[in-house]
Symmetry: C2
Subunit: 208 residues, 2 copies
DNA sequence: ACATTTATTTTTACGGTGTAAAGATTGTAG
DNA sequence: CTACAATCTTTACACCGTAAAAATAAATGT
């Protein structure tokens, strides 16, 4: 019997590691064609297998996309943490850093970001997407915890901070991605970061 | 020659007014199946015509959806104005009202809202979508103009207000629609409006 | 009034999609 | 070396959007 334990230790049969190859192909396909243009057959072609081959590794196209979204959330969390690391040891600055990382990721991986928040082709009730998305959410909660000095999920005022910070970063990312704010072209390249940071900062006022 | 002038004065041939019937059918189809599940053939069936009939009234499926999105933006603007009308004569309150109207509409018409901001099936370069979307944007700009006492599009600080207010309302609407904030179930029904208003208010600080 | 033209709709057809089922192929176990 | 099980391919089916041709009905010109 082949080595086929759950945690990705799939051994090589005909292709080598088709599961991994399909995930790579899916990310290419997604980046090139977008969430709406994504096709499972295109993935299979990229991986050099027949169009029905993926069926044995993923229940259906959405299961493949859900797993890709999960990888996305892991990298998404890394993007936020990376921004936070490059910032002074100030809770508010760390919160804004998370927001900038949020937007960094969205701009660097537009189609993947869309997939992660489309919630039509993805299933957040199954692993590993459920966990990886929760980790990302945890970064937000943690940042707000440091800022206000308590767990924000314990009361309404705290949840309001969470909702505000998340909405601001997410709305900004989503509108930037769909080119709804062409007037921002007026912002010089070196000023963009401060411009965005100034917006994110508003979400959690200093007099909470 | 039939009465077929541009402005919707299409007269009745076989069906009566298939163009209008298709738009109505499309809204039903959209509401029931969502943006991703929408099919042109399903629309045609709802309107009681063959699957190829829409071709003579709309270039393709995206053209039909673009026109539907345009109607959506018109109602969207009305939702914002309606909220503004039911508010004291205070510029800041009017701005928050627009944001609440934004969210009202999104929650009342989730699939249509998604379509309007998906920008994949819709073409904002063509009329009437171009204009109706601009009218909606104008409400935002106008609200901020009243609040800060000048045209916000004239300088970076003003554009920052626009981007912040829009991002906050939009992010909130988008995350609510995709059920990303289940913890908000803890907010009692009669407190929801104040909760959301409190968040929107943060986007444009009082000391600008 | 009647033939002609034009607008509208249906029928037919084609390439593309996801996925289910059956057949072929290949690594592993006994 | 045989049998089995995992993997992949082939085939098939029901959808989809849309183009082209055929059919139908309204409007027009004489």
């Amino acid at each position: 019997m082949p080595v086929n334990e759950a945690a990705g230790g799939k051994s090589a049969y005909h292709h080598g590691d088709l599961r991994k190859a399909l995930l790579d192909a899916a990310e290419e396909e997604l980046a090139e064609k977008g969430v709406e243009g994504f096709t499972l057959r295109g993935c299979a072609k990229r991986a050099g297998v027949s169009h029905a081959a993926p069926a044995h590794h993923f229940r259906d196209a959405n299961a493949l996309l859900s797993e890709l979204a999960s990888e996305g959330f892991t990298r998404f969390s890394a993007a936020m943490r990376s921004r936070q690391a490059s910032v002074a040891n100030d809770p508010r600055a760390a919160l804004v850093g998370a927001g900038l990382g949020y937007i960094d990721f969205a701009r660097a991986n537009p189609a993947l970001f869309r997939l992660m928040f489309s919630s039509y082709r993805t299933n957040f009730d199954r692993e590993p997407l459920h966990s990886s998305a929760n980790v990302a959410f945890g970064i937000l909660v943690e940042s707000i915890t440091s800022t206000i000095g308590r767990n924000p999920m314990d009361d309404l005022a705290g949840m309001q901070h969470v909702a505000a910070a998340w909405s601001m970063a997410h709305g900004l990312a989503d509108l930037l991605l769909s080119n709804k704010m062409p007037f921002l072209a007026a912002v010089a390249e070196q000023d963009v970061e401060a411009f965005l940071a100034g917006i994110i900062t508003r979400a959690v006022p200093s007099d909470f």
